[in-house]
């Protein structure tokens, strides 16, 4: 009886803590380094080594593993993917529409022309003649606020 009661209390506590308004990973983002996503992307090479904090509305989240989320930029149609290794952080799908702060660095991945146009097609954009670079933000700490 006591064991069952303890188990129920444990699960309820877990459920309540998971529904908290603010969620932090690795101590939370360092908001003193806040930089607009558009500025970060304009000076992308610099932020591959220099740490910065970005902020934006969470527009999409990995449905299965929670290993990435897409943040809306301060510029229209612009987004930035925040990507972690599976299991390092698990972003909840219920974070969509909330504001996320992420501290970390940028990773630049050169795409082939075919990959570039496949991505642009998925985003309903016109094809281009030159390959683009994919920007992924690798966070060390994250805060998600409602």
């Amino acid at each position: 009886m006591k064991t069952s009661l303890i188990s129920v209390i444990f699960l309820l506590t877990l459920m309540m803590s998971m529904g908290a308004n603010s969620k932090t990973y690795n101590g939370g983002a360092d908001k003193s380094k806040l930089l607009p996503i558009s500025s970060l992307l304009k000076d992308a090479q610099r932020y591959t080594t220099e740490s910065a904090t970005i902020a934006g509305t969470v527009t999409r989240v990995c449905q299965k593993r929670g290993c990435w989320m897409q943040l809306a930029s301060d510029e229209k149609f612009q987004t930035l993917m925040v990507k972690v290794r599976d299991g390092d952080m698990v972003f909840p799908m219920t974070a969509q529409g909330k504001t996320a702060y992420a501290t970390g660095t940028l990773k630049l991945i050169s795409l082939s022309l075919e990959q570039t146009n496949q991505r642009r097609q998925a985003q309903q954009l016109e094809p281009v003649d030159k390959p683009e670079t994919l920007h992924l933000f690798t966070p060390v700490a994250v805060t998600i606020e409602d």
């Binding site: 188990s7 509305t57 299965k64 809306a72 229209k76 149609f77 698990v90 219920t94 409602d146």
Partner: protein, 184 residues
């Protein structure tokens, strides 16, 4: 108390203690193994509606109020975002609206964490970090004890020294077979 009786008592009591943790890891293990066929974390429902959308009015509070009323949604809009030239997103609590003003389509996507399975997966993937990691290590040690102590539960030919020893060999053979076959 003889070592034989002590071993049996410990095996029984530690076995009782491990029931809860074993169920947590076993159920979530199956759920996570099949996450690509079945999203055990969230129940995602999508419903499409055809509603007259005026591109010039999309970003106004009046339009939002009318849209929410039409869709019978009560929670307020938390955030708005143009995903691409054809998709304007409105975020409500656990609900996202995808508006396409060119086709007058509104997709209502609702996300609900699955009862219990989400919590079990949360524990399995160690989202709780340090404290749960230490507790899981402790549980793993108990499992090692359960495995080894089971070898000494029954004496003589009725134990692992008899035909039942083949079961122990089979338990080792299965993982060895997988490694030999799939890792080469």
């Amino acid at each position: 108390m003889s070592w034989f009786k002590l071993n049996r008592s410990l095996h029984r009591d530690i076995g009782y203690f491990c029931i809860g943790m074993t169920l947590v890891f076993a159920i979530s293990g199956i759920a996570l193994n099949h996450i690509h066929q079945f999203n055990s974390n969230y129940q995602v429902s999508r419903e499409s509606h055809t509603i007259q959308l005026d591109s010039d009015q999309l970003e106004t509070p009046e339009f939002e109020a009318r849209l929410l009323q039409e869709l019978a949604l009560s929670s307020p809009v938390k955030a708005r975002f143009w995903q691409d030239r054809n998709t304007y997103k409105l975020f409500l609590k656990d609900t996202t609206l995808y508006l396409n003003p060119h086709t007058n389509q509104v997709l209502v996507e609702q996300v609900k964490p699955r009862f219990l399975l989400r919590q079990l997966n949360f524990l399995h993937l160690n989202e709780a970090r340090a404290a749960w990691m230490w507790f899981s290590d402790f549980y793993a040690l108990l499992l090692i004890f359960l495995a080894l102590s089971s070898l000494f539960m029954v004496k003589g030919k009725k134990g692992v020294w008899g035909p039942r020893g083949l079961l122990v060999i089979a338990g080792f053979a299965a993982p060895i077979g997988f490694v030999a076959f799939y890792s080469s």
